[in-house]
């Protein structure tokens, strides 16, 4: 329906659309993340960042956007220290039981273990089995893991893959020299350090420089659903992982809370051990009117179809809204979230079209906006309550 306004139908999605790498408005926030990426690419030490914001404030969007654009950023910044990046986005497991192993499995899926074979074989060829074993042991502190990884050959890779995913029969384990399966949460934390270390070393051998790894973990607030039996192993393993990966890693933790300024409350959920390792904080503040205007303007500009932006903006400066309507809409979205802005704008445009309240040029004026704004806000509030 939004096509009547020369806009894509999915101009106002309620959740980020995978594959669409766009950033609208929020220049300061984007600048904060860019600075953190620059720092990550210029300094080797691990960086742990806690992103806090309300529901719908754009944390997942930021995670997807920067996961997809990390490599481009690295090219732009062209740091001396790193030549390449790996960026992964995962969610905090909903089930507390074996939560860290679930997180590990999700990351292993993103790394794509099937591609690891060539990486490992190349590493062993260049360094030799003993050096690889020593390297993995020095990173993970796990002898079993080091022996298993260094035992990678053409015909044992499948057994190694099964082992890395927490499985393996006795015969498979014997093949790769592992004494036991990966079972505890700490085992999986070590295995994750091992996988990342392999990626870092591979890049170092290929380009002469290591790679930087960016990991975004979304919905950390779901830790509140864990029982004490599950919570402690998860946070301890996360701490163990962070301590072992003391270099080449940037970890972003996204935390949704209605009062994101209340850091003390968030700390109670994440635990002292994790909070002590957080180096930087990014607060997703609700936007002021100017920021909403900038955001909406960018959003509309990027989603026009069936006409050039210049042509459409000759009809109205913020097409499909005239100046006054645009100001009224932006004021209504002040101190809310981008998701709310999307909901309200989408509804307003659809209802205005349904009720034929648009001009012949498909411009929504102040009169229509005033008439529909209160009703649309009510409708959205009811939806939220439901």
């Amino acid at each position: 329906m939004l096509e009547v306004y020369s806009l894509r139908d999915d101009t106002f999605p309620l959740t980020p659309i995978e594959g669409r790498d766009c950033w609208y408005g929020f220049r300061e926030l984007r600048g904060s993340f860019r600075s953190l990426h620059e720092r990550s690419l210029r300094e080797a030490p691990r960086l742990c960042v806690l992103n806090r914001g309300q529901f719908g404030a754009g944390k997942t969007h930021a995670a997807l956007y920067f996961t997809h654009t990390a490599a481009t950023l690295c090219e732009e910044i062209s740091p001396d220290l790193y030549a390449s990046t790996h960026a992964f986005h995962v969610e905090t497991p909903k089930q507390g039981k074996g939560a860290f192993s679930q997180l590990y499995q999700a990351l292993a899926d993103r790394i794509q273990l099937r591609h690891l074979k060539a990486v490992l074989l190349g590493l062993i060829e260049q360094l030799g089995k003993a050096s690889v074993e020593e390297y993995i042991y020095s990173r993970t502190g796990s002898e079993d893991l080091a022996i298993a990884v260094a035992a990678c050959e053409d015909d044992t890779y499948q057994s190694l893959r099964t082992y890395l995913l927490g499985g393996g029969s006795s015969a498979e384990l014997r093949k790769i020299g592992a004494a036991r399966r990966l079972s505890s949460e700490t085992d999986f934390a070590n295995a994750l350090v091992g996988l990342f270390s392999v990626l870092v070393k591979h890049a170092e051998l290929a380009t002469g420089k290591p790679c930087r790894i960016f990991v975004w973990v979304d919905e950390m607030e779901d830790l509140v659903y864990y029982s004490s039996k599950d919570y402690l192993p998860f946070t301890q393993s996360l701490r163990h992982f962070l301590d072992r990966m003391s270099q080449h890693l940037t970890l972003f933790l996204n935390f949704t809370f209605s009062e994101p300024e209340e850091l003390a409350t968030i700390e109670e959920v994440l635990g002292q051990a994790v909070m002590d390792r957080v180096n930087e904080h990014v607060l997703f503040r609700p936007p002021n009117v100017t920021e909403v205007k900038q955001y909406l303007d960018d959003l509309l500009l990027d989603n026009y179809i069936g006409g050039t932006a210049d042509e459409l903006r000759k009809l109205a400066p913020h097409f499909p809204f005239d100046d006054d309507a645009f100001s009224a809409l932006s004021s209504a979205c002040e101190h809310t979230t981008p998701r709310y802005t999307h909901k309200l704008t989408d509804r307003l445009l659809r209802v205005a079209c349904d009720r034929d309240m648009v001009s012949a040029d498909h411009v929504v004026g102040k009169q229509a906006t005033d008439a529909l704004l209160a009703e649309s806000i009510d409708a959205i509030s009811t939806e939220t309550l439901d």
Partner: protein
């Protein structure tokens, strides 16, 4: 808590009564949390379930306390309604002097239980967290109980709130509760320390 199951302490130290509806509810949900103590409770609840003496008075009793009564009285709040009947009946027949009413149903509390508790002072409203805090205090006289033990037990209470239905509202509430519970655990542990 101090190597004792909180439910076992409650079972041994308190006279417990449940209504038929609560027994049915217990039967339905106990498999989800099955352990030896739950098996003991299952037998206890079966033998304890008290049929309502005056079933025709439900929902009339709870109706007195509803701020805005629902159009029909169905399954929602049925456990709380019948438990209220049971408590009032036991008190008025002088079987019990005071009654601790344990429920985690915030909706039922807002709907009628808060008003009932204000009207009938013998009825004290608790939730699972109150049970944990009370038992911690009880055991703390004779056992070493650390803040962490209390906080962990309260975390287990929270992890079961809302069942399997996680939502934005519930997550937010649990985040806030975490802070309150941890503060309560710290204060209680400090109090217990003074009496050691």
């Amino acid at each position: 808590m101090a190597r004792q199951n909180v439910l076992a302490v409650v079972r041994k130290r308190f006279p417990v009564a449940v209504s038929e509806i609560v027994r049915e509810e217990f039967k339905k949900r106990s498999a989800q949390f099955w352990c030896r103590e739950i098996a003991v409770w299952d037998r206890k609840v079966r033998s304890l379930a008290v049929p309502l003496v005056l079933p025709d008075k439900d929902p009339h009793l709870s109706l007195i306390f509803y701020g805005s009564p629902p159009a029909t009285f169905g399954r929602p709040d049925a456990g709380e309604r019948t438990s209220l009947m049971l408590a009032v009946d036991a008190h008025l027949r002088r079987r019990v002097g005071h009654c601790v009413f344990v429920s985690d149903d915030e909706k039922a509390k807002r709907a009628f239980l808060d008003a009932a508790s204000r009207t009938l002072p013998f009825l004290q409203l608790w939730n699972s967290a109150s049970v944990v805090l009370y038992v911690s205090g009880m055991l703390g006289r004779s056992h070493q109980i650390a803040q962490k033990d209390i906080a962990n037990a309260l975390q287990d209470v929270r992890s079961n709130m809302g069942g399997a239905s996680a939502s934005k509202g519930l997550t937010d509430k649990l985040v806030k509760l975490t802070k309150q519970h941890n503060a309560a655990a710290t204060r209680l542990a400090a109090t217990l320390n003074m009496w050691r």
